[in-house]
């Protein structure tokens, strides 16, 4: 490797596979996604990967970079190529479709299982709900609302790796924001869905999700909130 180029190892195949090595020219402000795109367009057109917006909005381009899950479009090579090399792999805890593209079906199915969707209680004929930004519940919801569904937290989570039916930090974080939404009508079903086996109690609070979330959210804190909420519901016999 010279200062003008970077040695990049990229995973090829599915669960079984190999690393292919490429030399990629270095450029200023180069992101990991720029590297992968360069390889696919100039060195190996057969490389499979996923991206869309390129600006940190869509959550499509997460990959494992030097062992840690990252959103590659906003991850500068300077920040992660510790020893002048990059090793790029697909996200962990999800089946590999091919190369760097993973199957996120189960990840999103768990959002459905956690009932992490808004249940309206009014119609278009009703007036707007008035929720003060300073309301404590609104503040809790706001703290976790900017999730882009990238799967970084799910890939980083040890509990997901150990316990196949664990709902994971992203689905539980979304459930917490909805738990704090006064307009939502799905509270009792949701609290039951996220209690018990595979639910919020399975979290060990390792905080890898908090450490690596590209949006700087804290799913561990959201899950702690859900633990308190489910404990109260269990004591009252509501679940």
């Amino acid at each position: 490797m010279s200062k003008d180029s970077l040695t990049v190892e990229i995973w090829r195949g599915r669960e079984e596979g190999r690393f292919d090595t490429f030399e990629v020219p270095r450029m200023a402000s180069q992101t990991v996604l720029d590297i992968v795109t360069y390889v696919q367009r100039n060195l190996d057109p057969g490389l499979s990967y996923r991206f869309a917006c390129r600006v940190g909005v869509c959550g499509s381009c997460a990959m494992t970079v030097n062992g840690k899950p990252r959103w590659t479009c906003r991850t500068h090579v300077d920040k992660v190529a510790d020893e002048g090399t990059l090793r790029i792999q697909p996200l962990k805890n999800m089946p590999v479709i091919r190369d760097l593209a993973v199957d996120m079906t189960e990840f999103f199915e768990k959002w459905t299982k956690a009932k992490a969707h808004f249940v309206p209680t009014t119609t278009r004929h009703d007036d707007f709900a008035q929720v003060s930004p300073s309301d404590p519940k609104r503040k809790e919801a706001t703290a976790g609302i900017e999730c882009i569904n990238c799967g970084v937290c799910y890939s980083a989570c040890d509990t997901v790796a150990w316990l196949g039916d664990y709902l994971g930090p992203a689905a539980l974080n979304r459930a917490w924001t909805l738990h704090n939404d006064v307009r939502d009508g799905g509270q009792s079903d949701r609290i039951k869905a996220i209690a018990g086996t595979g639910g919020c109690q399975a979290c060990h609070s390792h905080q890898s999700c908090f450490e690596l979330c590209p949006k700087h959210l804290n799913p561990t804190a959201s899950i702690a909130g859900l633990k308190r909420a489910t404990a109260k519901a269990a004591l009252k016999g509501e679940i």
């Binding site: 150990w162 316990l163 018990g196 109690q201 399975a202 004591l235 016999g237 679940i239």
Partner: protein
């Protein structure tokens, strides 16, 4: 009781028993540290704990807290590290709970009996 409620109450019980254990372990260790200052003998232990209703109550609470706390944690470890089913891990948890209660109370009651 729904499975969700049972699991949540088990989780809560493990947290509460951990709080009790924190106090019990500190008292237990503090007494050991103080007691060994002048050397410790079985005669001295029996003189202090044997026949003492407060110590009998304290160590009974200690044993119950361990019997509630440890099996739940062990079950979680078995679920995460083995392919054992839910039913199997429940029975193992119950067996470990009974084992701790029997062994713990055998020691606690036995020591109380030596000084009674």
């Amino acid at each position: 009781m729904t499975p969700e409620r049972a699991e949540t109450l088990e989780w809560l019980m493990q947290r509460v028993s951990a709080m009790v254990l924190a106090v019990c372990v500190i008292v237990h260790l503090a007494v050991i540290v103080i007691a060994v200052q002048g050397g410790v003998t079985s005669k001295e232990i029996v003189a202090r704990v044997g026949g003492s209703v407060p110590w009998l109550a304290f160590y009974s609470v200690f044993v119950i807290a361990v019997a509630l706390h440890a099996p739940t944690g062990l079950r979680n470890i078995l679920r995460e590290y083995t392919s054992l089913g839910r039913r199997a891990t429940h029975w193992i948890m119950a067996a470990v709970c009974v084992l701790i209660l029997v062994m713990g109370f055998r020691a606690v009651v036995g020591l109380y009996g030596l000084g009674a």
